[in-house]
Amino acid sequence: MDFFTRHRNPAVLVLALFLQVVGLAVQVKQPTDRGPVRLVRLWGISLMVPLERAVVQAESWVHQGWSDYFYLRNVRRENRRLQEQNLRLRLELVRLTQDAGQAQRLQALFRFKEQFISDTVAAQVIGTSGSENSRLLYIDKGSSDGLKPDMAVITPEGIVGKVIRVFPASSQVLEINDQASGVGALLEKARLQGILKGAPGGGIMVHYIMSDERVERGEPVVTSGGDRIFPKGLLIGWVQRVDPGPEMFLNIRVKPAASLDRVEEVLVITRIDERQPEMIPEMPLRAADILAERLPSVPVKPPAPATSPAGKPAAAPGGAATSAAAGVSGSPVSGTPEPTPGNRPAGPPVPKKAGTP
């Protein structure tokens, strides 16, 4: 007792460290990543998440109020730019839909099963782990929104990570650049499969690609679907650097497509369907139809009398123009003749990079 009184402070230190080491040892022996969440962790998260949600919400209101009601400079110019972009994208869509149709017909012929993202939930990032050794994000959607562990988290630019823990109104997302993360990856051109892992400094690397393979800088890296979390074909990033690695493998550093350090909004894939693609019919819409929408239209004239006094069909002055306008505008006007190989305009060889028509 006398010893304890004299060395009270070091004794308390040893006791505190001993308790924490024992606690740590118990956790390491029984990893609980998939099991119930420890109470201390739950308290910590319950303490921080409401604060983070409140701040994010307040910030969102202020931002919306400012950008929707006050800061409307350049809106007209932006609108014009978006209209032009919309036209370009629609032309691109025509070309891509035809390519997709062809691919799907081939897939259907080979009875190939494809994965489709059929449901997503949009979520806002409300916090991080605050530690450089643990690349985690907290999002404002949880089990009450249908989220479950092991769901993929993406942005339109590329993949971000996967859900590892779910709470009623928030979830923990493990980013792909965490060292504990692992994603099935495919080098798109070389068709080589590897495993994508986080590097110590926050980068991402593809592992297990043999050193005698040829991998080029800038090559896209996509998900392989092998991990059963991310559907196949989502963009991860681009090869940034290739070095000879340990043993017989290459060290392939990848530049992530999504800006992992600055993710503010994400999509959580809540359902992936696996089905055989259906044969899609020929595209009813042609690039020429889209381009024709920009032409000045000719007003439709009232119908002329059916016959002339001489009994011949009336040569309505506007008739030819009207039918031409109806033809190019693409509106389903009854009576417009079906295009034949003779009268059909040279259709969809759409310019690859459609500029201003």
Binding site: V28, L42, P200, E264
Partner: protein
């Protein structure tokens, strides 16, 4: 830079109000988790460590220092994916040593605060790495350059932060 040894009679022990004792560590952990969403480089700071050092030095009680460090560390651990106790153990030791140091040295002037924070930051990182590798079997890389930069940044930020927190101190 001046580090002066003072007798225990000269040492002034401070008290911190309940709101400050609970609110400041919580705010530090909140900022540590929230700000990097918008400013990624903010993650190099360890605000909870700076608060641990400040509280330990101000109170000058080793037991209260180690308990403050331990609790702040475990709350910080709860937000990570790693086992609970990595930050807890590192901050317990730092809290204990900082309060022991506060009893023996004058740590009120900015020069000694910079040096003290720099050294405690390095010690904290070292302990974290040792515990993470040795006990939790985590695979972490030694990034000496990053660690030194982190030490300098934290030491520089500590001076205005401690000056701000000094206003909350009351003589015990």
């Amino acid at each position: 830079m001046q580090l002066s040894v003072t007798s225990s009679e000269e040492i002034q022990v401070y008290r911190l109000g309940l709101v400050v004792t609970i609110g400041v560590p919580l705010l530090a952990i909140f900022l540590q988790a929230y700000v990097p969403v918008y400013l990624p480089f903010f993650a190099i700071l360890d605000l909870p460590l700076l608060v641990t050092i400040f509280f330990a030095v101000a109170r000058r009680g080793p037991v209260s220092g180690l308990l403050t460090g331990g609790i702040i560390g475990i709350v910080q651990d709860s937000l990570t994916r790693q086992p609970l106790g990595l930050y807890g153990i590192a901050k317990t030791v730092v809290g204990y040593l900082a309060s022991s140091l506060g009893v023996k040295l004058d740590v009120e002037n900015p020069g000694s605060r910079v040096l003290m924070t720099f050294l405690f930051y390095l010690l904290h990182q070292l302990l974290y790495q040792l515990v993470a590798r040795g006990l939790a079997q985590e695979v972490l890389a030694w990034r000496w350059g990053h660690m030194l930069i982190g030490g300098v940044v934290n030491a520089v930020v500590a001076v205005p932060l401690y000056a701000l927190l000094d206003r909350a101190k009351r003589r015990g």
